[in-house]
C-alpha cells in the first residue's frame, strides 16, 4: 500500500494505492490521525488506485472515522472503483461515509 498526501483548496487529499487489507490498512489510518492532529479540517481519501478492500480494511476505515470526534472535521472518500464500490455498497458502509465521485466534486462540496 502506497499513500501520498497533497493539499488542494484547504483539503488534505490522501491518495491510496493497491489493496487495503490487514497489512496495509494501518498506514492510511496513521496518516489520517497525523493530519487531524496537525489541524486539518477537511480530509479526503482518494481511492482512484485502490484495487481491493478486505474486511480488515473496512474495519480500519470505520474505526478511523470514529476517531474523528470533532464535528467540524469533514472526512470523505472519492473516486471509488467499481469493485471496491460494490463491496462498500453490499456492506452498507456507503451510508456511513461521505463518498464523492471525483476530487473536484469533493472540493466543490466542501468549499
Amino acid at each position: 500500500m502506497y499513500t501520498n498526501t497533497s493539499h488542494r483548496e484547504g483539503v488534505a487529499i490522501i491518495a491510496l494505492s493497491g489493496g487495503i487489507d490487514t497489512d496495509a490498512a494501518p498506514k492510511p489510518e496513521r496518516e489520517l490521525t497525523t493530519l487531524v492532529r496537525k489541524g486539518n479540517r477537511k480530509i479526503l481519501l482518494d481511492f482512484s488506485e485502490v484495487t481491493s478492500i478486505s474486511s480488515s480494511g473496512l474495519r480500519v476505515l470505520l474505526s478511523t472515522s470514529k476517531k474523528i470526534t470533532d464535528p467540524q472535521v469533514k472526512f470523505g472518500f472519492c473516486c471509488v472503483g467499481p469493485e471496491v464500490n460494490e463491496i462498500m455498497k453490499l456492506t452498507g458502509v456507503t451510508t456511513i461515509f461521505t463518498i464523492f465521485s471525483s476530487v473536484g466534486d469533493a472540493l466543490d462540496e466542501w468549499k
Binding site: D23, R59, P82, I87, M88
Partner: protein, 580 residues
C-alpha cells in the same frame, strides 16, 4: 538453516542409535510438510552409509552432504541412496547437487519400476511435470523387485571407487493364503541388514525400508489424502492390499517407529491407527479422477476464482458486522458491539485470506506452479472451515450468505480431493423459487412489527436490533421486479445452488451499479429460462470475465447453463435449465 523438529520419538538433525539395531545410528532430517521436499534420513552402520530419500531441497541436501562427508571422513565406507519411491520431491536434489556426481558419488537403489522411470527421465510417473520440471536420466544400479530377479543377486563394482558388494536376497512373507508380502533383504556387511518391502498403492514403485525397529514408509501415510490420492501410478486396489500388509508388519514385527516421507515421525501404534482409518477412507476413492497437470491447471484456476468469491462474500459479511458494531457504538451499546465483533474470528479469517492472496500474487508472478496454488488453496480451505465452523455468524448474518461460504469451501475440498461436487437434482416450480429468492433478498430479517413486539423483552429486542442493523437493504435504491411466466412450469435442478446463484447474480448486478433490475422466467419446449436484466446507464457494463466464468461453473453445478448478453446499456444473464 532451520528445519522443524519432526517428532519427540527421535531427535531431529542429531545422531542416535537405531532402536532394535545395536550397530546402526540414524540422523533424521524431518521438515514441515510441503510439496518441494520430503524428509530425509541418514543411516550409519559399520560398513555403509545409507541416505533414504535425499529430497528436493538443496539447503537440506547441503546439511545431509556435510554430515555424510563428516562421518565418511572418520570411517570411510560406501554410501547408498535408497528411494522409497521415485517421486520428484524425494529425489530432485540428485539431479543437480554436487554430492551425486564425481568419483565418490553414492550408489542408488530403488524399486525396478521407479528405476526405469528415473533411467528414462519419465516426467509423468515421477510427477516432475506437475511442477513443470524436465528430468535428466539417472542411473540406478540396485533395483529391487525386478521381474527377472533371481533368488539371490550380488551387485559388484557398482560404485567406482569403493567397489562394494551388495547381496540382495528374496524372502517373501506369506501372511495368509491370499496375501504375500514381497520382501528383499539387503546385506552389505556382517552386521548390516536392511529389509525392503514392496507396498504399492501411492505409486507402483513404493517400497518400505526397515532398519532395526524403524520402518521408512515413504508416502504411504498420506496415500489417501486430498491432492495425493489419484496421482499417476496411484492405485486404490494396490493401496488397500498394501495397507493390510503394513498392518500385519506393525502387528507382527518389532517395528517401533514409522519414519514418513513427510511430516512427523509416528509410533508404531499411532501408525496402526492411521492406517486403519486410511483403509476405511480408501474404500471410497474408487471414482477418484486422475491428478495430473491438467487437473492441477483446472483446480488452480478454480481455486483462484473460488477464493476471490469466498473473500468477497466474507468481506461483505464481516463488513456488515463491523458497520453494525459501529452504529451500536454510536448508540452507546458497546457491549452488543463487542459481542457482534466476537461472533466469529473475523480477523483470523481475514489474515488466512490475506495469506492466500499473497501466495496467489507470487503464483501470478510466476514463482509458483499450478499444483502449488491448488495445494495452498486446499490448506487455506481447511483452515477457513475450521475457524468458520466455530463461529456463530448465522445468528446475525443472512443465513444464505453464511451457507454460501460453507458450500464454496466444501466444493473446493471435493474438487481438491479429485471428485466432482454433487448436484442434488430435484423437480420444482421455477416461479416459486425465483419469487422466494427475491423476497429473501429484499425483506429485512426482522420487520418493524417484530421489533415493536419484542420491545418488552430486552434481550430478545437487542438480538433483533442487531440482526436488523446487520441487514443491508441493498435493493432499496435498485428495486428488483419479477415478471413470472404466464403458465407456471417445473424444472429439474439443484434447488439450493440455483437459488444462491440467482441471489449472488442479483447482488452483483446491484453492487456493480445495475439499475432497473428485472427477473423473468419462461419456457421453450424442454428448456426453462431465468433472465436477469439490468441497465448500466452511462457507466458501461463492467462485469469481470473471471466472475462470469465462475458463475458459469456455479450454474453447471446447479444443473444448468449460463450465458451473458450485452445490448447497448442493458446486460442480460440467462440461466437455462431442463424443464418438464
Amino acid at each position: 538453516m532451520h528445519l522443524t523438529n519432526g517428532s519427540d520419538l527421535l531427535k531431529n538433525q542429531g545422531w542416535q542409535p537405531v532402536p532394535g539395531d545395536e550397530h546402526a545410528e540414524i540422523f533424521p532430517c524431518t521438515r514441515k510438510v510441503d510439496t518441494n521436499s520430503s524428509n530425509s534420513y541418514i543411516i550409519s552402520t559399520p560398513s555403509q552409509i545409507v541416505l533414504i530419500d535425499p529430497g528436493g531441497s538443496m539447503e537440506q541436501m547441503d546439511l545431509l552432504a556435510t554430515e555424510i562427508e563428516r562421518i565418511r571422513g572418520a570411517n570411510p565406507r560406501p554410501v547408498f541412496v535408497y528411494l522409497t519411491h521415485a517421486h520428484i520431491d524425494h529425489f530432485m536434489v540428485m539431479q543437480s547437487h554436487p554430492f551425486f556426481s564425481g568419483p565418490r558419488r553414492p550408489t542408488n537403489a530403488a524399486h525396478a519400476t521407479g528405476a526405469a522411470s528415473l533411467q528414462n527421465a519419465d516426467n509423468a510417473t515421477t510427477q516432475a511435470d506437475m511442477f513443470e520440471i524436465q528430468l535428466n536420466p539417472m542411473h540406478i544400479p540396485i533395483q529391487f523387485f525386478a521381474p527377472d530377479f533371481e533368488q539371490e543377486t550380488e551387485f559388484f563394482e557398482i560404485c567406482p571407487l569403493e567397489a562394494p558388494c551388495v547381496r540382495v536376497q528374496e524372502s517373501d512373507i506369506t501372511i495368509n493364503e491370499h496375501l504375500v508380502l514381497k520382501r528383499q533383504i539387503v546385506v552389505s556387511g556382517p552386521h548390516d541388514r536392511i529389509e525392503v518391502y514392496s507396498l504399492p498403492g501411492h505409486s507402483h514403485d513404493s517400497i518400505c525400508i526397515r532398519v532395526g525397529g524403524l520402518l521408512f514408509i515413504g508416502d504411504l501415510l498420506v496415500a489417501a489424502s486430498p491432492g495425493v490420492a489419484g496421482i499417476r501410478g496411484w492405485s486404490q486396489q494396490e493401496l488397500l492390499v498394501s495397507l493390510q500388509k503394513v498392518h500385519w508388519l506393525l502387528l507382527n514385527e518389532d517395528i517401533r517407529i514409522c519414519c514418513p516421507g513427510h511430516g512427523r515421525l509416528i509410533s508404531s501404534a499411532g501408525a496402526e491407527a492411521v492406517f486403519a482409518t486410511m483403509e476405511k477412507e480408501a474404500y471410497f476413492l474408487a471414482e477418484i479422477q486422475e491428478i495430473n497437470p491438467e487437473w492441477a491447471k483446472q483446480t488452480a484456476r478454480y481455486a483462484n476464482d473460488l477464493m476471490v468469491r469466498v473473500a468477497e462474500t466474507f468481506t461483505i459479511m464481516a463488513g456488515r458486522c463491523y458497520r453494525a458494531a459501529h452504529i451500536l457504538e454510536e448508540l452507546e451499546e458497546t457491549g452488543e458491539a463487542e459481542n457482534l465483533s466476537g461472533l466469529v474470528c473475523l480477523d483470523t479469517i481475514d489474515s488466512i485470506l490475506a495469506d492466500f492472496h499473497r501466495f496467489n500474487e507470487d503464483y501470478r508472478a510466476g514463482n509458483q506452479r499450478d499444483v502449488h496454488l491448488a495445494m495452498k488453496a486446499g490448506q487455506i480451505t481447511a483452515k477457513l472451515e475450521a475457524v468458520y465452523r466455530t463461529g456463530q455468524l448465522d445468528l446475525v448474518i443472512d443465513p444464505y450468505l453464511v451457507k454460501r461460504v460453507e458450500r464454496l469451501l466444501s466444493d473446493y475440498i471435493t474438487i481438491f480431493r479429485g471428485f466432482q461436487p454433487t448436484i442434488e437434482r430435484e423437480e420444482f416450480e421455477l416461479d416459486i423459487l425465483v419469487g422466494h429468492c427475491i423476497e429473501m433478498l429484499v425483506s429485512p430479517p426482522c420487520s418493524d412489527e417484530d421489533l415493536i413486539t419484542l420491545a418488552d423483552d430486552e434481550a430478545l429486542y437487542r438480538q433483533a436490533l442487531v440482526k436488523r442493523l446487520v441487514y443491508v437493504p441493498v435493493f432499496e435504491e435498485t428495486p428488483v421486479s419479477f415478471d413470472p411466466s404466464e403458465y407456471p412450469f417445473s424444472v429439474v435442478a439443484d434447488r439450493e445452488r440455483l437459488q444462491d446463484l440467482i441471489a449472488s447474480i442479483l447482488e452483483d448486478v446491484a453492487g456493480t451499479g445495475g439499475e432497473q433490475i428485472t427477473v423473468s422466467d419462461s419456457k421453450e419446449t424442454n428448456c426453462g429460462f431465468v433472465t436477469i436484466s439490468a441497465e448500466f446507464s452511462g457507466r458501461g457494463i463492467d462485469f469481470p470475465g473471471e466472475r462470469l466464468g465462475f458463475m458459469i461453473k456455479e450454474c453447471e453445478l446447479s444443473g444448468g447453463f449460463l450465458s451473458c448478453e450485452k445490448v447497448g446499456e442493458v446486460m442480460s444473464i440467462v440461466i437455462e435449465l431442463p424443464a418438464l
